[in-house]
Symmetry: C2
Subunit: 580 residues, 2 copies
């Protein structure tokens, strides 16, 4: 950064003046001043984050009426689930979508959560970048403190109407009702009306947002999101009423009942792991810390750093472990940062990750997807950029409308008609398999092709597991593959949280999980094929056994009884003889 750097300056001066002269000559040249630095300075001003996201609302998943509806429901339900779990309440959530006009819908999401204290309601629903989850490292569905306020903003943008929030924090406390909008120019809530109302509910929160929207069933619908949410949250009881409810030929209210009463273990907050911290962050932490010694700072602010490791780091960095953190200069900090990378530190605690668990993944799949065969696998926790994460994979395989074969105890093969797997979750035998992506128990429905999950599924060699697979594409078959990533910080590719970024560590874990389930699937498919073949052979033989019986009867002139017992024996022999 020496001021007399860059020879370029001089060249530029030269060529510039040359230009200037040329410019004078050149008739078309227009170098007349348009605006001065001062004039330009006057136009400079701050942009509120709400203005920014209103103009760029597609970044938050509000780019179309169809997607807007899903995103709004998603944000509300995610918050409800987070709140219930944080409070230790078995969540019961009701989602209602009501048509209020042409391309107008009102979504209402109501939970039995802890409720929100009146003073906070405004900011929680009416201020972007506000919340409790951003600053702590723990496994929550929400991360950024944008979602629900963005939904309120989208509602007011498209209908001009405020959102209605009702909240009650306990039996003894009163229910408060709010009508609020976001003051986008200042990114703060505008509360239009707050009053105490009667609410025959112990505690909980209800959000109502009216918005321009489009309702549609299908792979990326609210229905699909809720169905998958039920799979990933077996402790949740969910009531859903879609806009067609109460209409001619409309659908009934659906209830996904919980299959377990055990809440997921409480999400533990962890401290950052030294290996994941960047120099700039380290410097900021040194400035902010209340610790009085470097050694203390390292042990206090990071996970997996004890006195020994702290000493080691300081030694390698040639900085006194007694040094006052706030007095550490940039060079020393830089040395510390290098030292940290060089020091061997055990990987971060993984008890902060709460997976769904193989058993519950299986029961979830079985409850919501009809298929012939299910398998699930939960990987051990791993780490990317200092963040612990964990991958779970589940596979449901069925032959919709096809015919399956079973092997009975006594080795008899019996045909069995398999149920049509629910159209939307397991596809037909000639379609690509369905991929269900989940992050911290939240289904991801958009940007499938950009997601690390899809890339890993495609990268896996499914032919080895008995499925066809076109080059560089999803395998073909009546099959649904579910991949769940649980992490204290899920690396999404956009604020709308639709796809997972492509970290090699993450891709590796997904691959291993897929292979694990794939092998079990392969065994099942192979067996199915063997049975199929076997079934053919036998049906032939069985066809002829009676004739053989009759032949024997004539040759050895047996009585009909003897003949029948012989054929009987023959069939037994046949069934027992062939092994699987």
């Amino acid at each position: 950064m020496d001021p007399n750097a860059s020879p370029s300056l001089f060249d530029m001066q030269a060529s510039e003046t040359a230009d200037a002269q040329a410019a004078k000559k050149a008739p078309e040249a227009e170098t007349k001043r348009r605006a001065t630095a001062q004039e330009m300075a006057e136009k400079q001003r701050e942009i509120s984050v709400s203005e920014f996201f209103t103009k760029n609302r597609h970044l938050l998943g509000f780019d179309s009426p169809l997607k807007g509806l899903l995103t709004a429901v998603k944000e509300a339900v995610d918050n409800s689930l987070d709140a219930c779990e944080e409070a230790g309440i078995l969540p019961e959530i009701a989602v209602e979508i009501t048509e209020t006009g042409a391309d107008r819908f009102r979504i209402a999401v109501e939970d039995n959560g802890p409720g929100i204290v009146a003073e906070q309601v405004g900011k929680v629903f009416g201020k972007l970048l506000y919340g409790s989850k951003f600053h702590k490292l723990s496994q929550t569905r929400g991360q950024q403190g944008i979602g629900i306020s963005a939904a309120v903003m989208y509602g007011q943008l498209t209908t001009g109407k405020p959102a209605r929030i009702v909240s009650k924090t306990g039996k003894k406390s009163q229910a408060h009702e709010f009508f609020l909008t976001v003051d986008t120019a200042r990114n703060r809530p505008d509360v239009h009306g707050e009053k105490v109302i009667e609410w025959d509910k112990d505690h909980g929160t209800r959000v109502e947002i009216e918005m321009e929207a489009k309702y549609q069933k299908g792979l990326r619908s609210v229905d699909m999101y809720l169905k998958q949410t039920a799979i990933a949250n077996p402790h949740l009881t969910l009531h859903y009423q879609d806009p067609t409810f109460g209409k001619e030929g409309g659908s009934e209210r659906v209830t996904y009942a919980r299959s377990t009463k055990a809440l997921p273990p409480e999400t533990v907050e962890i401290k950052p792991h030294p290996h994941g911290v960047e120099l700039g962050v380290l410097i900021a932490m040194l400035k902010e810390t209340s610790c009085r010694s470097l050694s203390g700072f390292l042990q206090e602010e990071f996970s997996r750093v004890g006195p020994k490791v702290a000493e080691e780091i300081c030694d390698t960095a040639k900085v006194s472990s007694k040094a006052y953190p706030t007095r550490i200069a940039r060079e020393e900090a830089s040395a510390l940062h290098d030292a940290i990378q060089k020091t061997k530190i055990s990987s971060p605690p993984t008890n902060c990750i709460s997976p769904i668990g193989e058993e519950l993944v299986l029961s979830g799949l079985k409850k919501e997807i009809e298929a012939d065969f299910y398998v699930a696998s939960t990987r051990p926790a791993a780490v990317y950029r200092g963040n612990p994460f964990l991958i779970e994979v589940g596979i449901a395989y069925g032959k919709p409308g096809g015919v399956g074969l079973e092997l009975s105890e006594e080795g008899r093969i019996t045909k069995k008609k398999t149920v049509i797997a629910t159209e939307d979750l397991v596809g037909n035998a000639d379609e690509p398999i369905r991929v269900l992506r989940l992050a911290n128990r939240v289904p991801l429905l958009y940007q499938q092709s950009a997601c690390a999950v899809t890339k890993s599924v495609i990268a896996t060699n499914w032919k080895a597991y008995g499925l066809q697979q076109p080059k560089g594409a999803l395998p073909i078959g009546p099959c649904a593959v579910m991949v769940h990533i649980a992490s204290v910080w899920v690396p999404f590719t956009s604020e709308s949280k639709e796809a997972i970024a492509n970290y090699p560590e993450i891709q590796k874990e997904i691959r291993l999980g897929l292979q694990d389930c794939g092998r079990k699937l392969a065994a099942y498919i192979r067996k199915g094929k063997r049975l199929q073949a076997e079934f053919q052979k036998r049906s032939y033989i069985e066809k002829y056994i009676p004739h053989i019986g009759i032949a024997l009867q004539e040759i050895l002139d047996l009585s009909d009884k003897e003949r029948d017992s012989t054929t009987g024996t023959l069939e037994d022999v046949l069934n027992k003889s062939r092994k699987f």
Copy 2:
């Protein structure tokens, strides 16, 4: 929004208590309180936009050292160009990248722009979401007021070092030097040192940022970005010094000299078009306006609204045109919004768009891409969501290393060896064509497949224009297609401004532009093929003409002179006879 809505409540109560009882029985049930609403409220707090983007910096294009380097240079150069054009100065910019250590580089971008007044420097470089371009509708490269501050932030995050900024606003004023970082927790600049220095330059700004980075040549390199910037900004003189400069076998400083001295016309700021405004925005505008009558408001705040149209809107909405804007109720605003949509309003002014122009696109392509054939087309301006935009397409077609044929004046066909087109811009005959994407004269290098431009190129039927094209893929051939979108608001798919969103209006214009150029390309390619065939035929005939000559000489016993003139005549006949 009637409070006594939703029967669901009651069902929930029921089933909830049912659950509660079950829970009591169930041993594994854990519904014990974990945190109360009050405890949770205490953890709620604001998140600064800088914290947000530090943690999510991949959203801004800083997800890898390789991309980080490009993004930083891009942001700095874009700002320099915008500033020069706004000030009416022919831009001359110097870019230097210097290696300062392992994976450490310092980028320096220096312009001859108007400079920045000292009081503003801090905020411009040290505060996210601050600038002059976000709030106005005009064609600028920058839009969001994030880019350059994000680059500074990335530098300090990875190296802990502050950015150095030198700025001078005029001959008579002094040059100021700043060292600054971003206070991410508060999203405001930390100025570590400001002093007046000597700078032998009339006016301009120099930015130096040191960062963890990776330098590489190739399709997505800084080199490529600068090359394309030169093509799209023929009025720019650009000096570039890459990190290998001065090293053993390193490259020289490159200078892209300007090919025109005419600045692009000044970008005009326009008012929003009524048809593009959303109800929520309309309500906000009504609240903020200083106009005293609705009619005045409509004419004042929107483009293309005169007294007649204003009246018409008010009548349709059944609202008095004399009404006081700030007193308009939501229902009336809603009626106004509907009325606006119903009213026929001429499409927005398009003089605010400044295209590069066919001529300059051609000269740009010719200057930087060596090929055999060039064509360009500028579409008339169109509108999406009330925003004017304009599409320009240019094609460079060459046969690298191949052999071309030319038709001489007198109709002789002559072989000509075509130059190898520069490796990176026109591919080989058996590779997919190269797509150069530009938005407001800024090259886009990442997320090609997600971009409306690429999608449109793929959707075009190139077989009709003489290129092979695999299904659903880019056509094959030694060809570069450049597409430029100019708009007062380019709809990017992410803050990193790498891909253009898929608006049907935009795709349509791109398609028309491509087809226009495609037809001309087709003519050229067909002609090439005809010449090829023709060349074969002729070479045969020409081979035999001498023999014919000798034969005639024997038959008609001509003198050698007569024979030669005869063969001469024959050849002329041959050349003239066949028409093209």
